[in-house]
C-alpha cells in the first residue's frame, strides 16, 4: 500500500510508524516458533543462549538432544551403534514409540473423518438438503465445544459405552473403549470432522453442478460421475481437510490424557509430561522437528489451495 502523493508529513510519520508496528506484530507471531530451533542445538541443558552460542563457537552447539530422543528409554543406549542398537531404538525408545502411536492414531482417525466428512459435505452442499443449518451446527460443534468438556463426556462414555442403553431399560454388557487404540481413534476422528466439513464444503461452493448433470446425460452412472468428475475437482479440498484432521489428531493431548491407556503414549502426551515434570531441551528438539513438520504441511496445503482455485477457475492462471 503506497502512500498517496498528497500525504501530509504527519501522515508520512504515521505511515512508517504503522509499518513498524506491523513488523513488531509479525515478529511477535513468528519469534516464539523460530527461537526453539537454535536453542534445540544447545550443548548445555539450558533454555537460553549461552555465551558460546552467541559467539557462534561450534562447541556451544551439539546434537545431544536429538540423540537423546533416540536413546531415552532404550535398553542399552551405550552399545555400539550397529543394527541391534537401531532395533533397540525402534523397539524401546520412548519418543520413537510415541511417534508410532501418534502416526497410527492420526492415520486411522483421519481416514474415518475424511471419508465420513467428505460424504456429508457432498450432501450438505446440495441445495435440497433438509435441516441444513441445524445439522451443520451439530457437525461443527466438536470444534467449538471446549475440549475439556468433550474429553469429560468421552471419559464417561468410553469407560462404559453401553451405559446410555440402560436409560432405555436395557442392561447389556460391553467392554471398555477407554485405553484402546480404537477409542482414541474414534475420539480423534470426532475432533477432526469439523475441519474436513469446513474445507470440503468451501471447495464445493464453487463447484459447478451442471458438470454432474452433463456426465449423467452422457450416460455415466452416479458412481462413475463421482469418481471421474466430482472427486478430481474437489480432491485438493479433501486432501487439505484430511491434513487438518491429521494435524488435529497429531496435536491433541486432552482427550488422550482422559481416555488413552499406557499403550497409547502419543507425542503430545509425552511432551505434556515432559513440560509438566522436568522440562529438558529434548522437548525443544521435538518442538523443532514438529515445526519443520508444520512448515511442510503448510506448504502442501497452500499449494493445494492454489491448485484448487485454478481448477475451479477462481483465479486466472
Amino acid at each position: 500500500m503506497a502512500l498517496p502523493t498528497y500525504a501530509s508529513p504527519l501522515e508520512k510519520v504515521w505511515h512508517y510508524a504503522y509499518l513498524a508496528i506491523c513488523a513488531a506484530i509479525f515478529f511477535f507471531l513468528i519469534a516464539p516458533i523460530v527461537v526453539v530451533i537454535p536453542l534445540s542445538f544447545n550443548a548445555e541443558p539450558y533454555f537460553t543462549f549461552t555465551d558460546k552460542m552467541l559467539s557462534l563457537d561450534p562447541e556451544g552447539y551439539s546434537l545431544r538432544w536429538y540423540d537423546s530422543l533416540l536413546t531415552f528409554g532404550m535398553a542399552r543406549p551405550d552399545a555400539p551403534r550397529d543394527l541391534t542398537w537401531w532395533a533397540d531404538a525402534w523397539q524401546n525408545a520412548k519418543w520413537v514409540n510415541a511417534a508410532k502411536s501418534s502416526i497410527i492414531i492420526g492415520v486411522f482417525s483421519t481416514l474415518v473423518a475424511t471419508v465420513l466428512g467428505t460424504l456429508a459435505a457432498l450432501g450438505l452442499s446440495r441445495p435440497e438438503m433438509p435441516w441444513r443449518r441445524a445439522i451443520m451446527a451439530i457437525l461443527i460443534s466438536p470444534m467449538i465445544v471446549p475440549i475439556i468438556i468433550t474429553a469429560t463426556g468421552m471419559f464417561f462414555f468410553y469407560s462404559n459405552p453401553c451405559e446410555p442403553l440402560t436409560w432405555i431399560g436395557l442392561d447389556p454388557q460391553c467392554g471398555r473403549l477407554a485405553g484402546t487404540y480404537l477409542g482414541v481413534i474414534l475420539a480423534h476422528a470426532t475432533l477432526g470432522i469439523p475441519f474436513v466439513i469446513i474445507t470440503v464444503t468451501a471447495t464445493l461452493v464453487g463447484f459447478d453442478q451442471s458438470l454432474n448433470r452433463a456426465a449423467a446425460s452422457l450416460g455415466a452412472n452416479p458412481r462413475t460421475t463421482f469418481f471421474r468428475i466430482t472427486m478430481p475437482l474437489i480432491l485438493p479440498g479433501v486432501i487439505s481437510g484430511a491434513l487438518f484432521a491429521f494435524v488435529t489428531s497429531f496435536d491433541e493431548v486432552v482427550a488422550v490424557l482422559f481416555i488413552a491407556g499406557p499403550d497409547q503414549q502419543t507425542i503430545p502426551r509425552q511432551m505434556w509430561n515432559g513440560i509438566r515434570e522436568q522440562i529438558s531441551p529434548a522437548i525443544l528438539a521435538v518442538a523443532t522437528l514438529l515445526v519443520i513438520f508444520s512448515i511442510a504441511l503448510l506448504t502442501t496445503v497452500e499449494l493445494l489451495r492454489r491448485r484448487s482455485e485454478r481448477l475451479r477457475g477462481l483465479t486466472p492462471r
Binding site: C22, P32, R126, P130, I138, I140, I147, T150, A202, L290
Partner: protein
C-alpha cells in the same frame, strides 16, 4: 397453468400435456405436481443419506457422551444405592421428622452392610461433597461396624462419634437419599443448602467457583481485546498489500496456526521464564538488574501472552477476508470530500470491517473461555481458568458430578455464544486459512 413463455412448461406440455380435467401430466401420465414433489423428496432423501453416517457418528461419539456428562451433573447415587434402608426411611418420613429408633436401626444396618461390601468410602465421599470433612466419619464408622452393631443403635452409633447426632448431617443424608440432585449446580455457583434445606451462600473462604467464572470471563475478554489490537493492523496491511507480497506475509500468520499448540506453549515458557531469553535480553540491555528478573510466566501475564499468540490467527483471518472486499475508493472519496485520514478511517473504513471484527472476536472469545492446555502449563496459580478446575475435579478430587456441573455451565455459555455466532456470521462462513 402452462405458460407459453416458459420453455420448461412448453416441453412438459408437449410430452404429457393437459388432460381433460386441466391438470398437467408428465409423459407417463402422472400428475406433474405429484411427480415433482416425489422427485424433490427423493433428492432430499439422497442428500440426507449422504450426511446420515456422519451425523450418526457425531451423535454417538460426541453428543451422547455430553448427554452422559450432563446426566452425571444431576445424578449421584453413591449414597442412595449403597444405603438402601436409610434411603427408604427418608422416603417414608417427611422432612423435619426427628430420627427415630427405626432410622437409627436402618443406619446401623446400612453401615454394617456397606462396610461388608466395601462401599462405605463411596457413601462417605458422596456426603463429603455436601458437608466437607465427613468422609472419615463414614470410613471409621465402617471399620467399627464391620462385625455388626448391637442395639440400642442410637447410643452405639453416637458413641462412635458425636457428629452422627448433628441435624445438618441428617439433612445432608436426606438430600443424598435421592439419586437426583441439583446440589452440584448450587455448589458450582457457590451456594449450598442449610439444615432447613434453604439455599444459602457458602462461607466466604470457600467461594471459589463464581470468582473463577468471572476470571475466565475477564481474561477471555482481555485476550480478545489484545488479539484485536494486534490483529487489526496486520489484517489491514495484508488486505491492502499487492497479492504477491500479502501471500508471502500471510505465511507468517499461518505458520503459527499450523504449529503444534504444545510447541508454541513450550516456546513461551522458554522465552519468558526467569532464566529465559527475554529476561536475559533485558538484563543484557541493562533495563533491569540481574536480581530483579521479571516474573512473566506461570501467572496471569503468561496466560494472556501465550493465549494471545495462539488465538491471534483466528482474529486475523476473518478480519483479512472482510477487509479484502472493502473498496478503497470509499476512503478516497471521503478524503476528497475533506475528511482527515482519521475521520475517514473512523467513519468510513472501520464500520465496514465490523463483520470481520465480530466474527473474529466471537471466535476468539469462544475458544478462549474453554482453553485448558495453555493455562494449565503457563498459568501458575493465578492464571488458571474454569477448564482447569473441571480437569482438577476429574483427575484429582474425583468429584465427577461437580466437574460435570461446572462443565455444563461452561457449555451453556459457549453454546449461547455459538448460537449468536451462527446468527451473526453463519457457520458456513467459518474459514481455515
Amino acid at each position: 397453468m402452462a405458460n407459453a413463455l416458459d420453455p420448461h412448461a412448453a416441453i412438459v406440455t408437449k410430452a404429457g400435456g393437459l388432460d381433460r380435467q386441466g391438470t398437467l401430466r408428465t409423459a407417463d401420465g402422472r400428475p406433474l405436481k405429484a411427480a415433482l414433489a416425489r422427485s424433490s423428496r427423493r433428492a432430499r432423501r439422497r442428500a440426507f443419506f449422504l450426511v446420515l453416517p456422519l451425523l450418526l457418528f457425531v451423535l454417538i461419539t460426541f453428543v451422547l457422551p455430553i448427554g452422559q456428562m450432563l446426566q452425571r451433573s444431576v445424578k449421584n447415587d453413591g449414597f442412595s444405592a449403597n444405603m438402601p434402608q436409610l434411603t427408604a426411611w427418608f422416603h417414608d418420613n417427611p422432612r423435619g421428622t426427628q430420627p427415630d429408633d427405626a432410622a437409627w436401626a436402618a443406619l446401623a444396618a446400612d453401615l454394617a452392610a456397606a462396610a461388608q461390601a466395601r462401599t462405605i468410602g463411596v457413601v462417605g465421599t458422596r456426603i463429603n461433597y455436601d458437608m466437607p470433612g465427613t468422609r472419615s466419619l463414614f470410613t471409621s464408622a465402617g471399620r467399627k461396624a464391620r462385625g455388626g452393631i448391637d442395639p440400642p443403635y442410637r447410643q452405639a452409633i453416637l458413641d462412635m462419634d458425636e457428629t452422627w447426632g448433628d441435624p445438618k448431617l441428617w439433612s445432608v443424608m436426606r438430600m443424598a437419599a435421592s439419586p437426583y440432585t441439583a446440589n452440584f449446580y448450587l455448589a458450582a455457583v457457590d451456594r449450598t443448602r442449610d439444615d432447613q434445606g434453604q439455599i444459602t451462600a457458602v462461607p466466604e473462604q470457600q467461594q471459589i467457583y463464581v470468582k473463577l467464572f468471572m476470571r475466565t470471563f475477564w481474561l477471555s475478554l482481555a485476550i480478545t481485546a489484545t488479539t484485536f489490537l494486534l490483529g487489526f493492523p496486520v489484517a489491514h496491511l495484508l488486505a491492502t498489500l499487492p497479492m504477491r507480497q500479502s501471500n508471502l506475509l500471510m505465511i507468517l500468520v499461518l505458520l503459527p496456526f499450523w504449529t503444534s499448540l504444545l510447541v508454541r506453549t513450550t516456546s513461551w515458557i522458554v522465552l519468558l521464564q526467569q532464566q529465559g531469553v527475554v529476561n536475559d535480553m533485558l538484563v543484557w540491555l541493562g533495563l533491569i538488574g540481574n536480581g530483579q528478573r521479571l516474573q512473566m510466566i506461570f501467572n496471569q501475564t503468561g496466560t494472556i501472552i501465550a493465549m494471545t499468540h495462539i488465538l491471534l490467527p483466528f482474529m486475523i483471518l476473518p478480519l483479512y477476508s472482510v477487509m479484502r472486499t472493502i473498496n478503497p475508493s470509499y476512503v478516497r472519496a471521503a478524503r476528497s470530500l475533506g475528511a482527515t485520514s482519521w475521520t475517514a478511517f473512523r467513519r468510513i473504513y472501520f464500520p465496514q470491517t465490523l463483520p470481520g471484527l465480530g466474527a473474529g472476536a466471537l471466535l476468539v472469545f469462544i475458544l478462549a473461555v474453554g482453553y485448558y492446555i495453555t493455562p494449565a502449563l503457563v498459568g501458575g496459580a493465578s492464571g488458571q481458568l474454569i477448564s482447569n478446575m473441571i480437569a482438577m475435579h476429574m483427575t484429582q478430587t474425583l468429584n465427577w458430578s461437580m466437574a460435570a456441573a461446572l462443565a455444563a455451565l461452561l457449555l451453556a455459555g459457549v453454546l449461547i455464544l455459538y448460537w449468536v455466532y451462527d446468527r451473526l456470521v453463519g457457520i458456513d462462513n467459518l474459514k481455515l486459512g
